[in-house]
Symmetry: D2
């Protein structure tokens, strides 16, 4: 299994990265990137910690100990074990303030692993090449090396008011087909964590008007010739005392420029079919959303904990109105837990034998989080009151002129005065800094935003009026079932895509 040092070493590979006006030469040493590089290194090292061994690793069929990243869950218990792993990583890495860990990134590869055939078969313009060979080889490669494959799926935000705009866009596209591979040019608009990845995992989200040559799924090394990563302003702060979380790294959203980048056929997973892009790849993000739900559950637990600690420290915890508000935060956390656990209990076996969590439950769990988050964030800040806004800096605390005046202001019902500053700092870093705002905003747009997720879920889950969800209503109303199984927008979807939804489980007598 990869170590942190091996990982850091591998990052010094000539990749081209801009952060603001800085051209970063070495992501492991530059002040805008080194903290995040270290955080991912820590991720790898956790696997080598003997105390964490049972949670972080497993022994595969060949007797080899591997990261739980690669664990194949074939039943509810296995899925639960995988979840405990994912949850542990979130807990160990600052309570959910980094979203694109290798285990989160690589979870998206499961969909290829399960069923690579349609990716190859639905391709257009491959001259009949069998892409599944390359897919399998690549998956083996990343597994053996514990590599980290960052998503680059999001295309430029085109003017949706003009139909023709997709055509003239700078969207990444195939500009040449060669015997040994393809050449692509253009940009991927948003890609998170790419500066810290081994491979860029190319893909697309379907949108009306997408062109065949823009449909590209494959893998490109982060340091491939022609690849330039252009990051937004970094939010990381070089001040661990005052900013315990914000100093721990920023994974950086980048626009990735591909200036005629060559991709050999062995790294091409699919090209050419907008129809395929609308169905199957969307299921890749099922895994992203399930992992995101786990992370947001942990984050909610952290929010409850902060509210409890802070209200205890400032002495308001016992007040009934405060308890009623903290109860709402606990409810927020418990509801997310309920979705995680129930989606596991109600999982189903995919055609390839993977036990997959219930799609409706984790999708609506995530939607619940996104709808409530702004209010809950506000509650934590409001419960902390002024303690979220104004408290001494480390330097002031250590200044003998000021210390004795400031200390009594931090003294509370319970615990040390300095503890209040610790809690204040975490609340500030999470909710009242550009660092924290970026983490929140990332969840808002991670994969697909809430409204899109809801709309897509409505489409794919047999939620049609002729489906199982109206059985009870029909009975109570005294309306007979539809004569023939109706053809819905959903049933018209490719069977290979629908197999990944497990929606049939909905049809049982009692759900």
């Amino acid at each position: 299994m990869r170590t942190g040092d091996q990982y850091l070493e591998s990052l010094r590979d000539g990749r081209v990265l801009w952060v603001g006006g800085d051209r970063v030469d070495d992501v492991t040493t530059h002040p805008k990137t080194r903290a995040q590089a270290k955080r991912i290194a820590k991720f790898y090292d956790l696997h080598h910690d003997p105390k964490m061994q049972d949670v972080m690793t497993f022994v595969d069929d060949d007797g080899e100990r591997r990261s739980m990243m690669w664990f194949k869950h074939t039943d509810a218990e296995g899925l639960r074990r995988k979840r405990v792993y994912l949850e542990t990583v979130v807990r160990e890495l600052d309570g959910g303030s980094t979203g694109r860990t290798p285990c989160a990134n690589n979870y998206g590869l499961v969909t290829y692993e399960e069923d690579p055939a349609p990716w190859s078969e639905q391709s257009v313009g491959t001259d009949g090449r069998d892409l599944t060979v390359g897919i399998r080889e690549f998956l083996e490669l990343v597994k053996e090396g514990d590599l980290n494959c960052a998503f680059a799926f999001i295309d430029p935000q085109l003017d949706r008011s003009k139909e023709s705009s997709a055509k003239s866009s700078p969207t990444l596209r195939i500009v040449e087909r060669r015997e040994d591979g393809i050449v692509v040019a253009g940009v991927k608009a948003v890609s998170t964590g790419t500066p810290f990845a081994d491979y860029i995992h190319l893909g697309v989200f379907y949108r009306p008007g997408i062109q065949s040559e823009q449909v590209i799924y494959g893998a490109v090394p982060a340091n491939a010739p022609g690849v330039t990563m252009v990051s937004r302003e970094a939010t990381v702060r070089d001040d661990p005392d005052n900013h315990p979380l914000a100093s721990a790294g920023d994974e950086l959203e980048c626009t990735v420029i591909f200036d005629n980048v060559f991709i050999p056929w062995e790294r091409v997973f699919h090209i050419g079919s907008p129809e395929h892009a609308s169905l199957y790849p969307q299921r890749i993000f099922d895994w992203v959303h399930y992992e995101a739900l786990i992370r947001t559950m942990v984050r909610a637990e952290l929010m409850v904990g902060l509210a409890l600690l802070m209200t205890e420290h400032i002495g308001t915890f016992q007040l009934p109105p405060v308890q009623a508000r903290v109860a709402r935060l606990v409810e927020f956390y418990q509801t997310l837990r309920a979705h995680v656990i129930a989606s596991e209990t109600e999982g189903f076996l995919s055609p390839a034998g993977l036990f997959k969590p219930n799609v409706l439950l984790f999708d609506f769990g995530r939607s619940y989080y996104l709808e409530r988050y702004a209010e809950m964030r506000n509650e934590v800040v409001d419960l902390a009151g002024r303690a979220s806004l104004l408290f001494p800096t480390e330097e002031q605390w250590n200044n003998p002129e000021l210390h004795d005046w400031l200390e009594p202001l931090q003294s509370g019902a319970v615990g040390e005065p300095y503890d209040r500053m610790r809690i204040s700092r975490v609340i500030r870093d999470l909710f009242l800094t550009d660092f924290g705002d970026r983490v929140s905003t990332f969840e808002q747009f991670n994969g697909t935003p809430m409204l899109t997720t809801r709309m897509l879920t409505m489409k794919r889950s047999e939620l049609s009026p002729s489906g199982p969800l109206t059985e009870l209503a029909r009975r109570v109303c005294g309306i007979s079932a539809p004569a023939a199984p109706e053809v819905t927008a959903y049933t018209e979807q490719a069977e290979y895509a629908r197999r990944l939804d497990g929606a049939r489980a909905q049809g049982s007598l009692v759900r």
Copy 2:
């Protein structure tokens, strides 16, 4: 197992019931009560339906087939089986429009069955009598006869602004202690479904200032001398065509007057200890709340179904804004499902070996329902639009002068014109009649209202700042754990009560 006819026969026992100005002589024939009596009879008959046998019954250790009411669940699978039973009853009886079925009522007896000792031991004023003998005998009696025991726990709403008011209240109290039993007098303010019960299950909710002689737990036959049930105005309608649900019965909230009613010691479960009343009996309502959560989950499914059927019929289903709104209803339903399923998966073994669902999960599930219900009800009505308000009556539909004018107004994208009227009628009965409003309001106050439930949950679930929920926050903040296990309001509670919370499960490394 009891049949519907046996049940109906038993109701003709001289019980004293007022509904509005009417003195009801026979609840099985009076127009204000007969529909509900028939509905409960149907409940019993369902157990004899061969097609339902697997869901509705089980074979006990002595080889006897019994109602699933009496099934003892000792693991998650058993609990799930019990839930399927409870869910089925809700589905069969009009989608959740009656809350106090025998299986719901009797679920509250589980707490005595598990652990009768503290009830007897904590009693005050029994001269050392062992009440557990009577408790066990009574539980056997109701099981053998499939009897129906309605709760009468709610005391008069006293002036909370006056401390002394508890003393001078008309609250039920012990007025005499005799060798063979006690005599009680006063009222229970609210008791639902009592006119259709065999026994009145007496109890109290703790409140500050409650007097020792007001603390009474026991059982009284519904036709006991001195018992008078005074019901609110009935909401049942004698018009099944126009009101398919509202005609199916009203379970009636009653004030129950006890005019010096004698209760033999064998039917007394506990008397005299306000302290006991504050802890243990509250756990009785855990079962009520779990059952209520199941019912509200089914109700949410019905709401989704009605919205789907109606928007399909009026042709709005495919409009994106409508889909977005229906998705919120689906989310409402899925979140309730998540709480039910997760509370089962995360259940625990009580000291007596019963597998009990996770308290936090079902309590916050119910709180979620209550917080969202008003909005969701409004959504269903709004999505139906005018079709919820104005549609032909059965008489108008059958009137040849009017029919041909009215029929086209009911014609939709799919299905028969008459079907729209069926859906409209159910929506109206559920949401726009006194019948439906009463069903909604019942859930609001069932057991304990939302705010009370939240506050009680905060108290009992080790949600203190020194408990497991702050572990992660402490770690992220860098704050050490409290030196010694703190004594909280919760840990000060009687151990026998805490055993029924399963809160220790919260302490595991990864929740």
Copy 3:
């Protein structure tokens, strides 16, 4: 001015009305209609009450005392005076439980009065007749007689999923054009209060696909040959003791059938132009929405008052959490007040010299009400607790066997026991009966529903990105103003329609 008796007399005119299965011969005596007839009679009589004279009437330019219905407000003070009149009618008639009073109905005629020319000029198929003569004559007629003109604007709910359905619908249409008038046939789907009106005020809401021959504005006597009113089930209760509000009348939504009804040209206001229907008539409902906002403001005041009285009576008023909840109800009321008052202060002069309230402010005020109402209704019921659900009936209260047991249950911190029942009854009638649910639902769909109102408001109020609302944002961002005044969807609308919006007031330096 008309008296109540004159009004009642006029209703006995042979009009054809079905309520459920009943053919109502005389609306002033039939138990389903007489209460509402009396309520409208009371409306007329209020104008003759000497104590109310200053509020209810005014002296016109010819020295004649008239109902404030006909008052022409030419400045903010005049508008305020009209509002006080409308508000008073709502207060006197059961706190907002009837929406279609004559003064509400007739307010919709203002738009014709202001500017009848476009109605005539835009007509198609009138052979050049000048319809303004008839319009003016009709307005004079209703003013002289204090007549009551009920809206019938809503067409059948067609299958929106089929484009062609408008064509084949039973929607009212012109079937014959004659020298002396037109003959119409078909139905108006929803018309409220028609059984209690003198005239049916025909009109249409624009919808895509509407046919020229379906565009009809005009007036038809309620007893015209060929007119049949088919009402939904009535919600009125013949029990004033137990149902003080629900017994006071139900204004009845009707489907109105026109079986080849003749309308002379003098009663035709406009025909034939879908374009006109999309712009101008929509402004008719400005007055309806302003009046509705006033009514909902009074209704909110009633809700606050009920919450205060009930929590005082049950003794919870002083509890801080209860105060916090009541404060939210007060906020609900104050916000509606703010919209009413501000819309008056920010009003503008229409081209015809009428002072019109600010459209944005009353539209968004109404939208605020509709968005919050379900929650606020729930709060009132929840604050009342069980007292909203279970309380003695009048018969039980008067029953000597029961009275002494029941009285203490109604005793509270303040006031008489019987008073609690009075409050409970009003809360029940308003929120927990089919009567109350219908009143709430009426507001939901009155004129145009919330979402439609919002969308239409976005269209007409110069809310475009090139309009005044982005001035500040442009300045803060450092973006220059659009080069030329842009042509927006709004500016493309007919100038005669835009004149009724007063949106230019938005362009002032400081709004």
Copy 4:
């Protein structure tokens, strides 16, 4: 009238300020403070701008032109004029991102000016000195010099779970009484904008347990010997290109240490009476809350504008779901406008002849803002989508290697590519930076937080069940008015305090 340069000069006065670890020698030049100093200087200069003269200044009774800060509004029109001034300042100074401008700070002095007598008369421990002379003198001084008086009212957050903690706190207190004045020692916990003020305006918010010697109202120069200001970490950024708003200044919350500071009696307004502190000073913050409501109204306008500009630029503005969401933002803005305007229209004359806006309306307006803000902020960010998170920095944009790749990503339906970056930057600065989060949080705690404001409003506004708000409910219920005018918590308050509420206006026949 003071000029910006005069103001800047006056700040170089030896005041002692710590920002983080830095001891700031000159606030006009230090990088953490100079931008804010310049912003306040700009405030002063606006008064000298001939184009702004009519809005920014007035001519007083002595013929002298003064800042509108000092304008005395004696009717609704005057109040409106003052509001336009306050609104203009907010617009000119970055759309509401600084809250403690001189005109906002000094508005709080109005309460002394109106009625200084009770401040002096209620004092305890002044040996009968007449403090009104000093109050008047000080008010004259600040008016003549256009000085800026920052509030320092907030005491340390004591452990509310311990009754005794107020006693042992570091709260500012009188430690010595001398012939010529008092000596105070201790801290004021939170004071905003103090580093940029001439005077520190001392005061207290009442809290249970406050000691007589902690009740101090008066004025202290910001550079008085013994005064040390300790600011939180500054959020200002020295990068106007990328951070147009965040670079414009941070007003800094400070803890202010008073190390035996002498205050002459001429600068003492009140000392010693907790009772007085509970009633009258609270009315000082009426002006703060009214001003805050105006600022939040402008801020809401800015939010609407940003949403319009951004959705127009990314081409989503015409999509119906987007329009529906923008409509909610417009509603947010219009509702705040409604409260501002209605509170002016419904104002009243204070005893001293000042026209004061309606307290209920502006308090609930502010409460409306605070309750909705988190959601609305989230909407703006969500509508902007990724454009709020990832966009080129100025340096990247100007980098010839990158520019041609990045430009097309900023191209939209309308306007220049660079404009999108301008909008993105403002959205980021306002909502996704520590700068913006601080501005939002300031509003949350400005004066009194939402819940406190609501509770205090419930107390003082004759909102009791025996007051005018139940008149309608009593009538509808048929309940008679309370026999005698009840003594409520409100009527028991000092008459001099109640006079500032204008609540009597509530008692009119029609509100």
